[in-house]
């Protein structure tokens, strides 16, 4: 039996013992996870520094603060999330209990990514634990130092059997995908996502796919350009552009292009000094393969700002490209790097058309002071999420579902959405064997008037808000009396 198979079997066995069912147990595990995040900041930060040259503050800011917040939210609200959720009844089920019971799915596979390895690997895990599942955690091998930190330290805090960390590359992942899971949660790219969905198909396993795409950023003529450019610069060059929801490219009027370039250039300097290479707050490209890929994307486009690079350090400076054409190399794939192309459009209409001709992105950014325009752009486009007048921030609001649509993914998480996504919402009808006489009208032999009564009773909806409860009960008694009288002698 392979190492992956063993881990999966052990996790499933552990799930079947039922210990992850109790809310206390789940909360306990979540609290342990919180302790881990807090106590191991140093190890986490070191791993991130080696993997992505993440700065000291970058660790809590972009990885662990978010996790702490999500864990606390889950712990505080778990009782409510996991409780039965009553729903509306029909006349025939007035005296019954009708509710939705959230239940664990079983064994979840969480496949993380390398760009925010903690946020996108532990983030889904929080939902998995909260929902009462067991989970196999497969961190990205590309962020290898972080992967090691997870492998070494998570088992010291979490239930080793229920939440094993399985590290490895393509081969190990393929071996994992041969096993049967009750849900697969994948963060990464579309190509691998198709492979995962196909593997999942064999076992009829549902999947959540958090992918990417080219997130457009439209800057309207009517906006506070200095603030807009600052926020865009922040969103773009964070983590060296290696963010699934980074503004990928800018669409703006030709008359604005130069000013946009100037403003963003100014902010790059404010954030990262004259020499970003020496600045500790500026990161690196994850590896040589991506470095080469990004350098290749520059081909054919005009560099307005930046372009400096150093292969030995996988360093690419914050770069802006101007007058970029739609067929340029940099517009053919998700950039995932610190290259910011600007394409000019002469109107919002043209921008909307441009956006809609392409695959639905994970995020859409609209910078405008005009409310009407913002609302119109939202209504006439589709994307995973939208932010007006800022970048990335919607990721941090736990009450917003975070996920893609079309090529940018399926399913969502964060907050309660993460809990629901990894639960089975089981519809429950609890009836008693009493009041059997009311049922008589549904039984054969079928007569014409039985149809009439049954139609009335079985299918009408009751909204207790509008009808007084007492009135309903009175009506019910009368109807039951009539039916009993009519059919009792059958």
């Amino acid at each position: 039996m392979s190492r992956e198979q063993k881990a999966v079997e052990r996790a499933r066995k552990a799930f079947l013992t039922g210990r992850s069912q109790s809310l206390e147990y789940r909360i306990n595990q979540l609290k342990n996870l919180l302790r881990f995040v807090r106590e191991r900041q140093k190890e986490i930060a070191e791993g991130l520094k080696k993997d992505l040259r993440r700065s000291e503050c970058g660790t809590p800011l972009y990885e662990t603060l978010g996790l702490e917040s999500e864990i606390n939210l889950a712990v505080r609200n778990l009782k409510e999330w996991a409780a039965p959720r009553p729903v509306s009844k029909s006349m025939m089920t007035i005296s019954d209990q009708v509710y939705i019971q959230p239940e664990p799915l079983g064994l979840v596979l969480v496949i993380g990514a390398w760009n925010y390895p903690w946020a996108v690997t532990i983030g889904p895990l929080i939902g998995a634990i909260a929902a009462g599942n067991a989970a196999v955690i497969k961190p990205s091998e590309v962020s290898s130092h972080t992967s090691k930190v997870m492998e070494d330290f998570l088992p010291l805090y979490l239930d080793k059997e229920l939440y094993p960390v399985v590290t490895g590359g393509v081969t190990e992942t393929q071996e994992l995908l041969k096993q049967r899971f009750d849900h697969i949660f994948y963060t990464g790219n579309g190509t691998v996502a198709k492979i995962i969905m196909e593997a999942a198909a064999k076992h009829l396993t549902p999947t959540t796919l958090e992918l990417g795409g080219k997130s457009p950023c439209y800057i309207d003529k009517n906006c506070e350009l200095d603030v807009a450019c600052r926020r865009i610069a922040w969103g773009k060059y964070l983590n060296c552009g290696q963010t699934c929801i980074a503004p990928d490219y800018i669409l703006c009027d030709p008359s604005m292009q130069d000013r946009v370039i100037q403003e963003i250039k100014k902010n790059i300097k404010d954030f990262y000094t004259e020499d970003p290479k020496k600045c500790l707050d500026y990161g690196r490209i994850i590896n040589e393969r991506h470095f080469k890929r990004l350098m290749g994307l520059l081909e054919g486009s005009t560099i307005a700002v930046g372009g400096e690079n150093d292969e030995s350090e996988c360093y690419i400076g914050p770069t802006i490209l101007k007058d970029v054409k739609p067929d340029a190399k940099v517009m053919q794939e998700e950039i995932f790097g610190p290259l910011l192309p600007i394409l000019t459009v002469s109107s919002a209409d043209e921008a909307i058309k441009f956006i809609n001709e392409r695959e639905k992105p994970l995020a859409l950014y609209i910078f405008s002071s005009e409310d009407k325009l913002i609302k119109r752009m939202i209504a006439e486009t589709s994307s995973g999420g939208v932010v007006a007048n800022d970048c990335l921030m919607h990721f941090s609001v736990s009450s917003l579902p975070f996920g893609g649509v079309g090529n940018s993914g399926m399913g969502c998480y964060h907050g309660k959405h993460g809990f629901d996504n990894l639960s089975h919402l089981r519809g429950c009808l609890i009836k008693k064997l009493k009041m059997e006489n009311v049922n008589k009208m549904r039984y054969p032999p079928h007569t014409a008037d039985k149809i009439g009564w049954a139609r009335f009773f079985m299918l009408k909806h009751i909204d207790f808000g509008s009808l007084g409860r007492m009135a309903m009960l009175a009506l019910m008694v009368i109807f039951v009396a009539v039916i009993v009288q009519r059919y009792y002698t059958d």
Partner: protein
């Protein structure tokens, strides 16, 4: 006759034009569907009778009325469902508008099944229309008369630009699946479901699968056997057992079984008379092939037939049949029965029954009959299934408030009522910020400092229960 590709292109053009977005359009289409059902009730009943010998009562209640009910519910609530839902924010995002919009996905493919040929295709369509999508319907070719009727009536009542019916068998469906859809909704078997998921993977298309499984029915403890038997018999032999949520087999102790059988005989007699073949209210098996499969199961079964067993190939009739002394290894226990054959397996304890169910694939529905509420609660808490109903069968799926769907091998996703609307929508998280509070934003920009970090921590961590948590990333 338009080819598949032309139909798809037409629908895509219609969707892009935005015609399906306004609530008025969606309501008009839903009301047209209502008229379709009201104007053609007789033909619909005839078609279903031709396909399945479906008794009028069943066809009205479980097909037409189910769809009408869903239509009424959707029409009266659609405006509300379409409203954006505003969500909580924290200190750093207090001045922002955060809300979730429900948006259409695009073109959806709905593949129906033959056992409830009207409901299983129109009910999802309600959700698809309500959510603002265009849709292609692929009714089951096995329920031929209903397929033909749907192909004729849908274009007559609904917008031909936005909704189309494509008929055909396995080959045509395979070809259809090569195209790209924005959601695929399939009702049917597990083996076909795998093919559908694989086809969907090519385009990263999300899928709802309404499958089946062996729905167990556990009868245990103190119980009003007469009522239980009636409800069990009704649920099992409705549509001649051809329901995805029919109780597939019974688990009970030998004593319970001995008490149950006479009441079942009594119930059957009161429903269908002494010769069910003569009763107008007993359905038939859908095709010769399905009839052959069921008869084969009966022949090979090692259980003892205590009720029924009669059959007639010409009319595809199988009598309501009950077998006892059925073992785990029996042929009847290897696949979903989907017919009027009810095996009873004996258990010695509640635990044994629960373990038996848990050793098997998660079913679409799970039933527990008992007057002891503790028994019901224990079964509910220790098992998993798409849906659960105590002391009755099937009826839980008539409640629009409950999500109807499977889990594990019985499916993924759900629908009915508002759940249909949500299934065919994309929940888009939206955040509208202003230009102000830039001073607070300053805290997040490089150069990063410890003090900025502390301020941010304070501003963004939720302080009390109910506040939405927030962070910088």
């Amino acid at each position: 006759m338009e080819g598949q590709k032309q139909v798809l292109e037409k629908l895509r053009g219609a969707f892009r034009s935005g015609v399906t977005l306004p609530v008025h359009f969606r309501l008009t289409q839903l009301e047209a569907m209502m008229s379709l059902l009201e104007d053609n009730e007789t033909q619909i009943l005839e078609a279903m009778h031709e396909d399945l010998a479906k008794p009028k009562f069943e066809a009205v209640l479980s097909e037409i009325d189910m769809v009408v009910n869903d239509l009424c519910y959707t029409i009266s609530n659609l405006q509300t469902w379409m409203q954006p839902t505003y969500v909580g924010t924290n200190l750093a995002t207090k001045l922002d508008d955060c809300f979730v919009r429900r948006e259409p996905l695009g073109i959806v493919l709905i593949i129906g099944a033959w056992n409830y040929p009207l409901q299983l295709i129109l009910s999802p369509l309600i959700g698809a229309i309500a959510a603002g999508n265009c849709a292609i319907l692929k009714p089951s070719e096995i329920s031929r008369a209903t397929e033909k009727l749907l192909a004729e009536l849908i274009p007559k009542y609904l917008s031909q630009e936005c909704y189309a019916v494509i008929c055909g068998g396995a080959e045509e469906t395979k070809k259809l699946l090569e195209n790209r859809f924005d959601h695929i909704f399939y009702t049917g078997s597990q083996s076909v479901a795998r093919c559908i998921l694989q086809a969907a993977a090519v385009h990263l298309t999300p899928v709802t699968l309404e499958l089946g499984g062996k729905c167990p029915c556990l009868i245990y403890g103190r119980i009003d056997m007469k009522s239980a038997a009636k409800r069990l018999v009704w649920a099992k032999f409705f549509n001649a057992g051809q329901s995805c949520v029919a109780p597939d087999y019974v688990l009970c102790t030998a004593e319970t079984r001995d008490m149950l059988l006479p009441f079942m005989k009594e119930a059957l007699e009161s429903f269908y008379g002494s010769d069910p073949q003569q009763s107008q209210d007993m359905g038939r098996i859908v095709t010769d092939r399905h009839w052959d499969r069921l008869i084969d199961l009966l022949k090979k079964s090692e259980g003892k037939i205590v009720i029924g067993g009669e059959s007639d190939k010409k009319t595809r009739y199988i009598a309501p049949t009950v077998l006892v002394d059925v073992k785990e290894s029996d042929v009847l226990m290897q696949e979903e029965i989907f017919g009027p054959i009810l095996p009873i397996l004996t258990i010695k304890s509640l635990d044994e029954g629960i373990n038996f169910m848990n050793e098997r694939e998660k079913p679409l529905a799970l039933y527990a009959f008992s007057d002891e509420s503790q028994v019901v609660t224990t079964v509910l808490e220790r098992t998993s299934s798409g849906g659960f109903c105590s002391n009755d069968g099937i009826v839980h799926m008539t409640l629009s408030g409950l999500p109807f769907g499977g889990v594990g091998a019985s499916g993924m996703g759900n629908y009915h009522g508002r759940w249909s609307f949500e299934t065919f929508s994309h929940k888009r998280g939206c955040m509208l910020r202003g230009w102000g509070l830039e001073r607070v934003n300053v805290l997040r920009y490089p150069p990063y400092t410890e003090s900025n970090l502390s301020w941010l921590r304070w501003a963004t961590t939720s302080k009390k229960k109910g506040w939405a948590g927030c962070s910088i990333m």
